[in-house]
């Protein structure tokens, strides 16, 4: 009886053991949406400008190509449950080249608004706030991610939302926020594989950050800590294992999605990222990133002085980048810099002394100078930058677009190719109908006897994506009955003897 009574007493809900709702900058949801859209406008304009200059990032090209295949063929699983799935599904709503750019821009606007909302509550002067935000948002890396990298941009937005909810969960004991943080991190996995690492880090950090005074317990024990860890980690782990399971069911390989071209986890699959070998190389590579963003380490000093408990959390992106590169995975510099930018602004403590506002101004200006006057590591980012500054389409983009327009008019399933390499052409063509792709049932038959099934074969020469079946089969030797129709840097197009010439007359102007 006594044990029952004490049990009831200990588990009775009283006002004392309910945390206070944390104070936060609050507006009606409609206003939040409005400001997100307003702040997205510059990004949308930039995405549109690049689109008009015929620029198409590799990531977006992948998404559009896959979306076109899924819609035109009516089945998701035959395209291998492409990873990450959510950027692809969002693009499938309207599979045109500018769609992922617009969505990324909206995500960029939302991220900017969340950061501004936080910065408004920091007591440094407004001019400093403007300079800091400006210097970080107009960095080429940030602009590129916000307009040309849908998966990465939404991931950053979700990380930021999860961080805000995580704080409310740990500081104010709001259960709802803990579960939302967990769900958002789980959702982030469907945009970027590194969300798995960040999700687990958030989870393991939660008992350290949790204000246990919100939950008066008789005696805190391991089950209490485990509860917090599981609540944050569960959705991420569920997402990871569910996706692995799906891959296993449909392809026999649970980790197939890790080498999906749209998610270049491995450096050998990405032209943008140079592999590093060993701890010191990984450390040096990450420090090199920091030199391009001096604001991040300086704000780190502020965090250490004003809010030391949060310093480890602040360092997390840096530690993750070393860890990931150490194991040979691809961690693009543009993604790293943008994460640092977001964390730098979100990490400025609300109790920062005003003097720091003035100190950060010159640092922000240096940041800006470094961003614009040093060479970008990524070739894709470089070419994007050059194009926007020069306001002239790149020759390769123009040519690619023209080729795609011609190929788009070809009868259905008459061009044999593998979308592992030819995704850009498919995306620019605006349709996957003319192409016979690995997801189609006749693909393997066509590989064995192309003369019976197709009129054209589009073969990548250099670079060739790992696993490109058409390149593997016909890269060295053309199949019997096919002649060279055209060749241009990176590609050759074979035509079946007797079939209608395509490119020779239209693009090359040859009879």
């Amino acid at each position: 009886m006594a044990s029952v009574e004490s049990f009831i007493q200990n588990h009775r809900i009283t006002k004392e053991n309910q945390g206070e709702v944390s104070k936060s900058f609050s507006l009606k949801p409609g206003y939040h949406l409005l400001f997100c859209c307003i702040l997205a406008i510059p990004f949308i304009w930039l995405a549109w400008s690049a689109q008009n200059l015929l620029y198409l990032s590799n990531q977006h090209a992948h998404l559009v190509a896959k979306a076109l295949q899924a819609i035109e063929r009516g089945r998701l699983e035959i395209i291998g449950f492409t990873y990450p799935p959510l950027p692809f599904l969002l693009t499938a709503l309207f599979p045109k080249p500018f769609t992922p750019g617009i969505i990324a821009a909206l995500a960029g606007g939302a991220t900017a608004w969340l950061l501004l909302s936080h910065l408004i509550q920091v007591p440094i002067n407004n001019f400093s706030k403007v300079v800091i935000v400006f210097s970080l948002s107009v960095m080429p890396a940030s602009l590129f991610i916000a307009t040309q990298s849908l998966g990465d941009m939404v991931t950053l937005l979700l990380f930021l939302i999860a961080w805000n909810q995580f704080l409310r969960f740990t500081r104010a004991g709001e259960t709802w926020s803990g579960f939302v943080a967990g769900l958002v991190l789980g959702l982030a996995f469907f945009f970027n594989p590194y969300a798995l690492i960040y999700g687990l880090i958030y989870a393991l950090a939660s008992p350290l950050f949790y204000h246990w005074e919100n939950k008066p317990l008789l005696q805190r024990n391991w089950q209490d800590d485990l509860t917090l860890v599981v609540v944050i980690a569960f959705p991420t782990l569920l997402a990871f294992f569910s996706w692995s399971y799906l891959n296993w069911v449909f392809s026999g390989n649970p980790w197939r999605f890790l080498n999906d071209p749209a998610s270049p986890l491995f450096t050998y699959m990405s032209a943008e990222v140079k592999p590093v070998y060993g701890f010191w190389a990984a450390l040096w590579s990450s420090i090199n990133d920091l030199t391009r963003l001096p604001l991040y380490p300086v704000i780190g000093i502020i965090v250490l002085l004003v809010s030391p408990r949060r310093f480890l959390a602040y360092l997390t992106p840096f530690i993750v980048s070393i860890f990931v590169r150490l194991f040979g995975f691809a961690y693009p510099q543009s993604f790293a810099l943008t994460i640092y930018s977001v964390v730098a602004i979100a990490g400025i403590p609300r109790r920062t002394p005003k003097i720091w506002g003035w100190i950060l101004i010159p640092i922000a200006l240096i940041n800006l100078a470094v961003a614009f006057f040093t060479m970008q590591q990524s070739s894709e980012l470089r070419s994007w930058e050059t194009l926007l500054i020069g306001q002239k389409p790149g020759i390769s983009d123009e040519f690619e677009w023209k080729v795609a327009q011609v190929l788009a008019k070809v009868p259905p399933r008459t061009i044999l190719t593998d979308d592992r390499s030819s995704y850009r052409i498919i995306a620019r063509a605006g349709t996957s109908e003319p192409f016979l792709l690995p997801g189609d049932t006749e693909f393997l038959l066509a590989l064995s006897a192309p003369q019976r099934y197709v009129n054209y074969i589009l073969i990548p020469i250099n670079p060739v994506m790992v696993g490109d079946q058409v390149a593997d089969r016909f890269g060295e030797r053309d199949p019997a009955g096919f002649v060279l129709e055209a060749a241009w840097p990176g590609w050759k197009l074979l035509r079946k003897e007797g079939a209608q010439p395509l490119l020779t007359q239209t693009i090359f102007g040859l009879p």
Binding site: H11, Q223, V231, L238
Partner: protein
């Protein structure tokens, strides 16, 4: 016999001076001391309750002693109705409900004079009521206790009370009662559906199976989405308190109304003692409590145990006449018949409500709109750590009452009532017709009936702790009863679909479908899907591939992986509000718990047709937590 509790003798009767007040008369009689009177008057000043009731509640005087003195003060003779033979011929003028509410009882008639025993001082209003029933005859008043009146009503109107308790709702509106399991058109529809499926399986087996599979998966998907939204809405308002401690403290005892507590107890001899202890802990003026212990008249064991527990004067035994169906709602209907409180609550025999629960309910009703008919307190378990079953049960209830109900409340969706700790406005409860004695989840049915009549149910931030079932078969029996009751509720309330839509509104119907219809549907549909998956997992067969065309495949994969995962995750919410962190990992074992639900669902389905009104009695008082280990010192 103590000096102050002796009966008043005829000699002493002559000693009462006219014009004396009740308290003074009792002191004069030596039935109470001046100190007792002073104490009682203090309470009266605070609560505004009648002195007689206060004295009885404080145990200072016996009921019959009090009324004998009142008889003298009113200068009327006293009658002991228990010892008096009542002339049945005089009873037919009167409705038993009126006798209970107006507190009088006719017991004899001679020479055009009707003898009326009353527990209230005769007044012109009472005269008018009685005259309205007997016409020009004269009235001769006697004084008796209200217990005597209740006893007499129960004894001499036994059949009528039983009839009303069992068939009252049916007489009002047969459509509202589960006495009819299936109406004609429901039966026809069921048969046609079954025939349709059989014919479809015969002529177009593939198409039929695909359609069924798609519909079931779609229903699962909808259910998952619904619970996800509601649970998160409930978590969002986790820290909201519908009634604050300040509001409770601000209540003055004199403002509090009479509160009736119904406690149906059947074969609960082992917990009666605990019940009495728990009721004593309620923070409510005892003189304003009316506790009716509802005992089946053939349950001698419980009756004996109840008497042996020496309950206080505020507890009245109400013996439920024997008759089918022998169910809790029938007993509650009998209790409702005798209830005099402005508000009414049901507790089970093993319940331990928070002491301030009644006051919180009063505040909630006073703050709430006029159409608020009921407020539901949270239910939870005091023996959560006993075994796997009690842990899962505790998780389930914590999730349901701490997150789902507040979520339903926040989204203005109908709230299914729990089995106990539902607080009602008594007058509206009577208007609704009380409980359906043929429905084995009478609470869910009543909640739905209230919604169709435009009433609402709210929640209060107070908990009643109960005993979780710790035995598997006991659990399955209990759960099968609940699921059977849900099925009955669905059948009752879908008898007139157009009327339901018109009266209840789309929002209520949506909630009704998702909760009341959804629950049995999900648990009945799940096993075939589990079987498909198990066979596929073990053998790798592609035999069932044709059942999953693209859309069905995507939905079913979502349900399998993310749906189940989400439901497990949401169940983890349950640990937070009450710091049940040691239960978190048990949330991962929900799939096993769901299997038990499905077993119970099929049992319920069978019983719906074989024994629709049978009440599977849950055995209580078996938890080890109820009995502390003996000391070895």
């Amino acid at each position: 016999m103590p000096e102050n509790q002796r009966m008043v003798s005829r000699e002493e009767k002559r000693l009462i001076q006219p014009g004396l007040k009740l308290g003074e008369a009792l002191v004069q009689r030596g039935l109470i001391t001046p100190a007792d009177l002073e104490k009682a008057l203090d309470v009266q000043k605070r609560t505004g309750e009648r002195l007689g009731r206060i004295l009885i509640a404080l145990g200072m005087v016996r009921r019959q002693q009090l009324y004998r003195v009142l008889a003298e003060l009113w200068q009327l003779p006293f009658v002991d109705l228990i010892q008096t033979d009542v002339e049945k011929s005089v009873l037919h003028h009167f409705d038993p409900q009126m006798l209970v509410s107006e507190r009088f009882f006719p017991f004899a008639e001679k020479d055009q004079v009707v003898r009326i025993a009353t527990a209230e001082k005769p007044s012109p209003e009472l005269n008018k009521i009685i005259q309205g029933a007997i016409g020009d005859k004269d009235i001769e008043y006697y004084v008796t206790t209200e217990w005597d009146i209740d006893y007499a009503v129960r004894t001499y109107f036994r059949e009528q009370i039983l009839d009303r308790a069992v068939f009252g709702l049916y007489y009002r509106n047969p459509s509202d009662c589960a006495y009819t399991v299936l109406t004609q058109w429901q039966y026809l529809l069921l048969v046609m559906l079954l025939i349709g499926v059989v014919v479809g399986l015969y002529y177009m087996p593939q198409t039929t199976l695909i359609v069924l599979n798609f519909l079931i998966n779609l229903a699962f998907f909808g259910g998952i989405l619904f619970k996800f939204i509601v649970a998160l809405a409930g978590a969002r308002y986790e820290q909201m308190q519908p009634v604050t401690d300040e509001e409770v403290r601000a209540l003055k005892d004199e403002e509090l109304p009479v509160y009736t507590i119904l406690v149906p107890a059947f074969r609960e001899a082992n917990v009666i003692n605990l019940l009495m202890n728990n009721l004593r802990k309620l923070d409510y003026p005892a003189e304003k409590l009316e506790i009716l212990l509802l005992l089946e008249e053939d349950d001698q064991e419980t009756i004996t145990a109840a008497r042996a527990a020496k309950p206080p004067e505020t507890v009245t035994f109400v013996f439920i006449p024997k008759g089918q169906p022998q169910t809790k709602p029938k007993a509650c209907n009998v209790g409702l018949f005798f209830a005099r409180g402005e508000y009414l609550v049901i507790y089970d025999a093993e319940d331990r409500p928070d002491p301030d629960q009644l006051k919180k309910a009063v505040v909630a009703f006073r703050k709430g709109p006029p159409h608020l008919v009921c407020v539901q307190a949270a239910l939870n378990y005091f023996n959560s750590n006993e075994n796997f079953l009690t842990r899962m049960f505790t998780l389930e209830y914590s999730y349901w009452f701490d997150y789902m109900l507040p979520g339903l409340d926040a989204l203005h969706l109908p709230i299914p009532l729990g089995g106990t700790s539902n607080h009602f406005r008594t007058d509206i409860l009577r208007q609704l017709g009380g409980w359906d004695p043929f429905n084995v989840t009478e609470d869910a049915d009543l909640g739905m009936r209230a919604a169709t009549k435009g009433y609402t149910v709210g929640v209060i931030n107070s908990t009643t702790y109960e005993e979780a079932n710790n035995q598997l078969w006991n659990w399955i029996r209990q759960r099968s009863r609940w699921i059977k009751g849900y099925m009955q509720t669905v059948l009752v309330h879908t008898r007139h679909p157009l009327g339901l839509m018109k009266n209840a509104g789309l929002r209520n119907i949506f909630g009704f479908i998702m909760l009341i219809l959804g629950t049995p549907f999900i648990f009945l549909s799940a096993p075939p899907l589990w079987l498909f998956y198990l066979v596929y997992l073990v053998t790798g067969t592609h035999l069932f591939d044709y059942l999953f065309p693209p859309i069905t495949l995507y939905i079913s994969l979502f349900n399998l992986l993310f749906g189940n995962g989400l439901m497990i995750y949401l169940n983890m919410l349950a640990v937070f509000k009450r710091n049940y962190f040691n239960l978190l990992l048990f949330a991962l074992l929900n799939p096993i718990y769901w299997v038990l639900h499905s077993i119970a669902a099929y049992k319920a389905l069978w019983q719906l047709f074989a024994r629709p009104y049978f009440w599977e009695k849950t055995i209580h008082g078996i938890s080890r937590e109820l009995y502390p280990k003996p000391s070895h010192h």
